[in-house]
Amino acid sequence: MSGGLFDDLRDLYQEVILDHGRKPRNFKRLEDANRTARGDNPMCGDRMELFVRLAEDGHIEEAAFQGRGCAISMASASLMTDTIKGKTQDQARKMGENFRALAMTGVCPDCGGDIAEDMERLAPLSGVHDFPSRVKCATLAWHTLNAALDGGAKEASSE
């Protein structure tokens, strides 16, 4: 790829992020969702609607989203919906907490145990910690997930 001017940005825009940003996974409306929430960073123009279907035992059976935003916010929502499927709500919230720490500091405080593999998949987004104005792009999806799991159609914002 040409564009030597921006080569040192490959830490932020790793190939996996560009790929998920261009072709987000789980990018659809989930008609049988039983938890939904909207996320909005009004100053940026990132907005998304998150759909979650919880099974009877409460674990996350399915997750999807729709929306518009920057590559970081779209890739983050894409990776999040991929990784939370099959998780319990507690596991998903713990991933969210650790992800926010990862996005802000570049270091994951508690990424071992049963979430280790999934946090590894989210690690490419840790580059945002060098870009303070972009952290909220990466964390919007996880704020929206909390709002959805808390129940109700609340509006989440990471601003």
Binding site: G3, L12, M43, C44, R134
Partner: protein
């Protein structure tokens, strides 16, 4: 205005006046294309403010001693400089506020709520900054005045037919519109708008936050009733704004904020307002900032507003010639009469991603909705990047932006 006749600016000398322009960003030259958000400050402004604090500072309008008298004289001299800058007929028509936003809120409160009657309407436009939308919504909700929104055309110009329609029933008390869009760069035909408003029995307010920076403004020539601008976009300090308001209007408007300096006499039963403009300047005013603004006005006037306008027009023409050549780049709006501001989008990337890439090249642009969310809805875009030029912007910086945009698009393909 014969802006095109003005001599070219001495850019090397001008840039040497702005210390921050020699700073490096990640090892690269600092290419500042966000003057529309807030402009950088020349040594002349910085020096005037420091000098005042070091040699001539005290509170104004209060002390019967040398330093206070000196400070008062300097503060009032700044008011005179602003009056000349806008060609106001009377220095008392200049009210110092904290910002443009403050000034519009003052008018929304003291004129919108204080003088207009329920059932009367305010007309704004689709290309207003939030600062000229929200205060009117608040006034509407508080006292039952109506808020009407004048359409803009697809090229980003005020739709004057729609303005005429909005004025037709004679219920409009005030037309409050931008003199230059902070997103599109469109300069509105202020004299014509004022004439239309006046013929319909309405007063007119212009948000000159952008316009006053990019061209000469003559409030009497356009016959503005209210005109606002802010210091920090005019190479002056933050914390000071200007409201020009005709004396006859200031006379009938109740005060906005109450406090010291705005009263003639106070007892616990009642207070008597000071004559205008003091009536609208409650509390200790932005004294040092006024001195900074005075220095900023002296600075731009020494260069000449027509020369600045011509310089920025040439930069915009250069950008308008180059950017559409880059595949995938679209510009928002194509107004004929415009200043040194324009918004654009790239097909492969969101505005924030573009801004992050440009930052790597040392280029600072604004990304998002630029405090004009309804305007973005009007053009059906989520967000844009905005480049805005100042008197220190060089043609080479415009080229740098164009080159970097081409590479940014490739990066995200």
């Amino acid at each position: 205005m014969d802006g095109h006749m003005a001599p070219p600016l001495n850019l090397d000398a001008i840039r040497a006046d702005f210390p921050i322009l020699s700073e490096k960003v990640r090892g690269k030259a600092f290419t500042f294309l966000d003057s529309g958000a807030s402009a950088q400050k020349p040594r002349q402004v910085i020096g005037a403010m420091v000098r005042m604090m070091e040699t001539a500072y005290a509170n104004v309008h209060r002390g019967a001693y040398h330093m206070s008298e000196q400070a008062t004289e300097a503060y009032e001299a700044a008011r005179g400089a602003v009056a000349r800058f806008l060609n106001a007929g009377d220095t008392r028509e200049i009210v110092f506020t904290g910002s443009s936003t403050n000034a519009i809120n003052l008018v929304a409160h003291s004129y919108g709520r204080g003088v207009m009657k329920p059932g009367q309407a305010v007309v704004i436009s689709e290309m207003e900054h939030h600062a000229n939308i929200v205060p009117w919504q608040m006034a509407r909700d508080a006292v039952g005045i109506e808020l009407r929104v004048c359409r803009i055309t697809d090229s980003g110009e005020l739709d004057l037919d729609d303005l005429a329609a909005k004025l037709a029933d004679g219920k409009v008390g005030l037309v409050a519109v931008t003199h230059m869009s902070n997103v599109l760069g469109t300069v509105t035909p202020a004299a014509q708008i004022a004439r239309m408003a006046h013929e319909a029995g309405a007063k007119v307010l212009f948000d000159g936050s952008q316009a006053a920076v990019h061209r000469r403004v003559d409030v009497r020539e356009i016959d503005a009733d209210f005109y606002v601008f802010t210091g920090h976009k005019l190479y002056g300090p933050t914390g000071i704004g200007v409201l020009y308001a005709k004396g006859a209007l200031q006379e009938v408007m109740p005060p906005f904020l109450g406090g010291g300096d705005m009263i003639a006499e106070v007892s616990f039963e009642r207070s008597v307002w000071a004559p205008y403009p003091a009536k609208f300047e409650a509390g200790t005013p932005p004294i040092i900032e006024a001195i900074g603004l005075h220095a900023a006005i002296d600075y731009v006037e020494a260069i000449g507003m027509p020369a600045i306008e011509a310089h920025e027009r040439a930069l915009v023409d250069r950008a308008m010639a180059r950017l559409p050549q880059i595949e995938g780049v679209t510009l928002l709006g194509r107004a004929q009469d415009r200043g040194g501001v324009f918004a654009f989008a790239i097909d492969t990337a969101h505005a924030h991603d573009v801004a992050t890439l440009l930052d790597r090249a040392g280029i600072a642009v604004r990304s998002g909705r630029h405090c004009a969310e309804p305007l973005h809805q009007r053009f059906n875009v989520e967000s844009t990047c905005r480049a805005s030029f100042g008197l220190y912007t060089t043609p080479a910086e415009v080229d740098l932006l164009a080159d970097a945009l081409g590479q940014a698009r490739e990066f995200f393909r």
